[in-house]
Symmetry: C2
Subunit: 415 residues, 2 copies
Amino acid sequence: MFQTMSVGIRHDDLRRRNRAMVISAVRRAGQPSRTEIAATTGLSHSTISAISADLIQEGILTESKASEPTALKRGRPQIGLALNPEAAAVLTVVLSLNFLSVAVIDYAGQVVAEEQLRLDTLVMPRDELIGECVAIVRRRLRDPDLDIGSVARIAMGIQGITDTHARAMLWSPITPLTDIPFADILETEFGIPATMENDCNMMAVALQWRDPERYRDDFIAILLSHGIGMGLVLKGTLFTGTHSSGGEFGHMIHRPGGALCRCGRRGCVEAYAGNYAIWRSAMKMSEDAEPVDIGDADMRALAAKAREKDGPEREAYRRAGEALGFSLGSLFALIDPAPVAMVGVSAAAFDLIEPALREAIAQTAGGQHSTSISFDTEPNELPLIREGCAMRALTFVDQEIFAPGVQARTGKHVA
Amino acid sequence: MFQTMSVGIRHDDLRRRNRAMVISAVRRAGQPSRTEIAATTGLSHSTISAISADLIQEGILTESKASEPTALKRGRPQIGLALNPEAAAVLTVVLSLNFLSVAVIDYAGQVVAEEQLRLDTLVMPRDELIGECVAIVRRRLRDPDLDIGSVARIAMGIQGITDTHARAMLWSPITPLTDIPFADILETEFGIPATMENDCNMMAVALQWRDPERYRDDFIAILLSHGIGMGLVLKGTLFTGTHSSGGEFGHMIHRPGGALCRCGRRGCVEAYAGNYAIWRSAMKMSEDAEPVDIGDADMRALAAKAREKDGPEREAYRRAGEALGFSLGSLFALIDPAPVAMVGVSAAAFDLIEPALREAIAQTAGGQHSTSISFDTEPNELPLIREGCAMRALTFVDQEIFAPGVQARTGKHVA
DNA sequence: AGGCTTTTTTTCGAGCCTCGAAAAAACACT
DNA sequence: AGTGTTTTTTCGAGGCTCGAAAAAAAGCCT
């Protein structure tokens, strides 16, 4: 709205943008008719007709005759437009603690192949870790059922800090290694454009597609796991930092000079609400005790014990809730309250966390309308991360490859 | 980049946007030639020529023949384009503690008239406060030198919380009154579109214009005064909350359950770094002591005493620095480090604040690159607020009134 | 069954807009 | 005065979107 700086709009941009709009409308709505697209985009019927004719002719969209057999309406029946699954494919790679998973997704968003692998990420040397990632992708690309030429994008997701341009993993809790330029590695290896995405950002992207009613313009996805991560969507757009990948909510300061965090600093939220912090507190260990990774099963057992009777376990969850509540309050002071999705293994223990969290947030400026702050939980983060990567890659193809079209006026295929 | 939702681009939007681009280029650059505009916007010379011809003919721009007499270059000399000062005017109203000031600004950004008034905002009843604001504006509008019809916009700035739509003051430290819809009041009174802007946001806007080198894409303006306020620019755009006007940095939680804040809560940054908090601490009063407004002269005296010798005064500033440092660290964890401008009376005491601030920020995740975090100080906030209001009103006129042009094809004036 | 109504989609000409190339303008230098 | 250089304007071509009208594809009714 304010300083639009940037570059003027040239004439060809117009078509590109409106093509992007049509593609995006189809991806969002499923099988909208031309009339529906005209309504949502505000463009005229003629324009939509012309653009969709082009897109169909280019093999990006298809007419889905097999619409609902209802047809209880008079008049010419609407013809649904759908994404042509064969127009392209994308590949997602999700690397998490001791686990690597790859999926091939068609242009319509359906998984067409996948492969998963257990490995020991914490101790693998650099070459081996990279090698495994490259190898699993290569196996999928060699699949005879797959037209390798149609794979237009690889989106890799990882827990940790990535750079702004989605090129490299800078730091991750799943490995002692740092600064691995996965995007460049995959790109040079396979000649397919690739990105390296932050896990929590991808969770947020996935939520936006899964439940656009609840997660539309402003919301927060928080990962409660070994570490505490956040994906933040503001005004409908994923918010990423100016240098790193996203908001490091887990390293906001809860208590200056407080408990020891895995990052080596003191008093971070994560040092109170991360799995290791809850464990440390429940075991009555010192706040200075070195953080250690706790298995999901152990965490579930801990939660069960906390539910059973009052004691140090319950108190540990209470303190986690307090840390999350005050920090969320500080965050809400900055961006105003928004719906929150709690994801990850400790989200399954949210019943133990919520009371203290709400009590804390009510003591903050951001908690003014604390009734309007609502939480949703999703214990399993991996499917979300994969979905997010898939949607991110697909929308890239939509916007950057198909919207510009044949372009460069190398001549249209047909008159 | 992600979900472009929204509406398609129609053909007439194209001209509107490119006109906006040209106007904005002229406002930013001063007296650019057509060639320079073509270069910065990326549009062709023909287009710039056509658009600027229209804008000149409509009286929005003028050719400034009286360019520099240098002309040491060969070739046809460039003709500078300038904003026509008479194209429109805007009015700024800044309401601060016991002080009301109004200015009339021409389209080129020059102050053409102003008026200031002392009043007792803390005790004035609602009708009187509103009445004074309306009256001072009326006096300026009655100025015979002013063509009232040319006043296109009123921008009012106030310390405190305003709503997202820039319509109303919700809460302010300068008056016990709440929820005054100043924008609507001025609009209905004078029939001129008006906005109610947050002071810190306007400071940020002003900084962006004053020093675009330093304050371009990402920066923070922090008001160190009675309260602690913040204006935040991210990716070149003013960041405002989803419900209220902006980030309430002053009410991030520094110490859960800590010192009493003016907002009634505990542990806010402001309860350690606001004028009253520094005073309270320097006077060795309890952290529960009721906040009171301290005059600027008293604060300057306090700072002088703190500089003179070590003691509770110096310690008070140290604690303020600590609170600001940890909170800035938390903020930087979310948005990554960015240049900071410290504004207001306590910015003049920043030498007392900075050491502890830097020490604290170095202990946070956001302070990783603490060397790249730089501070600038500006003790006087009022001129900044006024400048910001002026620029905000003027860019509104640029974008929303002049860019669309005569529009609605009511026929162009001349063939 | 055939004509009528309704709704969707396509076709077609008009009107803008931007662009590139060429022309015109305005100056410095010789 | 003529030449060279740089800026600005002019002009025709090509694209794009739009509105109106036509065409298409059903259901409804007699």
